[in-house]
């Protein structure tokens, strides 16, 4: 990393109370405080958020897209986890 290169941060924004924080993008900043302030200027210029999380990108661990097929395979043959799997008569109400 170049000497003047600030670390990269991932920005998550809650758009209103009651909703999840959602990934908005990333930015560079010297520390967490600056990352939050920069995130406000970059990602909430039009009241898009009521709360901001920042996480230094190097701390985000991700699943590998190369392994996606095998990684999610266990759920692949378990359609019985969905309510529509069960065959019930139309007369049955409120279920």
């Amino acid at each position: 990393m170049a000497e003047n290169q600030w670390p990269l941060w991932e920005v998550f924004i809650r758009s209103k109370q009651g909703l999840d924080h959602k990934h908005a993008g990333s930015l560079h900043a010297a520390d967490a405080q600056m990352a939050i302030e920069n995130a406000r200027d970059v990602y909430t210029r039009r009241m898009e958020g009521v709360s901001i999380w920042v996480v230094e990108s190097k701390y985000v661990h991700a699943s590998s897209p190369d392994d996606a097929t095998s990684f999610y395979e266990p759920a692949n043959d378990k359609v019985y986890r969905h309510p529509t799997f069960y065959d019930l008569p139309d007369e049955l109400k409120h279920m």
């Binding site: 170049a2 003047n4 290169q5 600030w6 990269l8 993008g25 990333s26 930015l27 560079h28 010297a30 520390d31 405080q33 600056m34 200027d41 970059v42 210029r45 039009r46 991700a62 590998s64 897209p65 190369d66 392994d67 097929t69 095998s70 395979e73």
Partner: protein, 320 residues
């Protein structure tokens, strides 16, 4: 079934990649992609980011001389948006493995290009209107299809940008509309700005399709959804109608509705001028680049101070 990409041939990987694109499945940063796709994106996205950043300069020129407080607040907000757009795009480009420092270096050394439109001067207040209406209008025309670009981070950045650009175009048209209802001098100023910005805006869509060698590949990769000439025609058709509301004219004697084509015909573009500006000989190329480099250099102490401040705060935290 476990698919191990390390055991696959490049041809197989390329097929899987193209199949995904054909099925409109977005490509994300960690997915395998052909080198040429990555390179094309880095070039296009960084050029786009640079354009947003350099694009602040011609408009910043008028902030201190905006005619009213309302116009001034609007112009500041618009220029600040451009900075934001540059940052969204730099961040998206970095997901492809390009470093921010490296991207800036390419801009500052002239190795990377930015949109030629910003190498024209902003001579009067009416230029703020013409830029909003025509330059941002052309940019929107180019950018809306990019919201569906095959690379996820690019498409997501573009969605955000397009939402914000709409105000830019509307405020520009409002400036011109106000001038068009003003004194004879103000109307002249309005027409003069349209006269100067029209052709450079039409050129923003890039070379004609037959002179645009990368278009076919970009379309196959769904980075591009429409050809330069298709988008240009759409822009001309829309502006030819909008200009009537201003009671002004477009400086093209060949502009004429073609009943058969259901489009406006328009005059030949001066491609010599276009290439001349691209090659660095436009009216403001040197000035723009110098201003950008100066801003970066004069900002060095701020970056250093922020780093020092962060370190000091970290030390304090450890001691507490």
């Amino acid at each position: 079934m476990r698919v191990n990409i390390h055991h696959m041939s490049v041809q197989d990987l390329e097929k899987i990649f193209q199949d995904k694109i054909d099925a409109d499945i977005r490509i994300e940063p960690k997915d395998w992609m052909p080198d040429a796709y990555r390179k094309t994106l880095i070039r296009q996205m960084s050029q786009h980011a640079h354009s947003e950043i350099v694009g602040m300069l011609p408009e910043a020129n008028w902030i201190t001389r905006a005619p009213t407080l309302r116009r001034k607040a609007t112009l500041i907000a618009k220029v600040q948006d451009e900075a934001g757009h540059g940052l969204y795009l730099y961040a998206a480009t970095e997901t492809l493995g390009a470093g921010r420092e490296e991207l800036l270096e390419q801009l500052h050394t002239g190795k990377a290009k930015y949109s030629s439109i910003f190498n024209y001067p902003t001579l009067t207040w009416a230029d703020m209107g013409a830029i909003g209406w025509l330059v941002d209008g052309a940019a929107i025309m180019n950018q809306v299809p990019l919201c569906r670009a095959s690379y996820g981070p690019y498409a997501r950045a573009m969605v955000r940008i397009c939402k914000e650009e709409s105000f830019h175009q509307r405020q520009g048209f409002e400036i011109l509309l106000t001038l068009s209802k003003g004194s004879a001098g103000q109307r002249r100023m309005c027409q003069d700005a349209i006269d100067r910005w029209w052709w450079p805006s039409v050129m923003m869509f890039g070379p004609n399709d037959d002179a645009s060698p990368h278009t076919a590949q970009s379309m196959q990769w769904k980075i591009k959804r429409f050809s330069n000439d298709e988008l240009r025609q759409r822009f001309v058709d829309i502006c030819a109608e909008q200009v009537k509301i201003l009671g002004m004219t477009i400086p093209d004697p060949d502009l004429k509705w073609n009943e058969q084509r259901q489009h406006y015909d328009f005059g030949a573009i001066d491609w010599d001028e276009f290439w001349n500006v691209v090659k660095g000989n436009g009216p403001c190329n040197k000035e723009r680049l110098a201003a950008r480099v100066r801003a970066h250099e004069e900002g060095a102490w701020v970056r250093e101070a922020a780093t020092a401040h962060a370190e000091k705060r970290e030390l304090k935290k450890d001691r507490a």
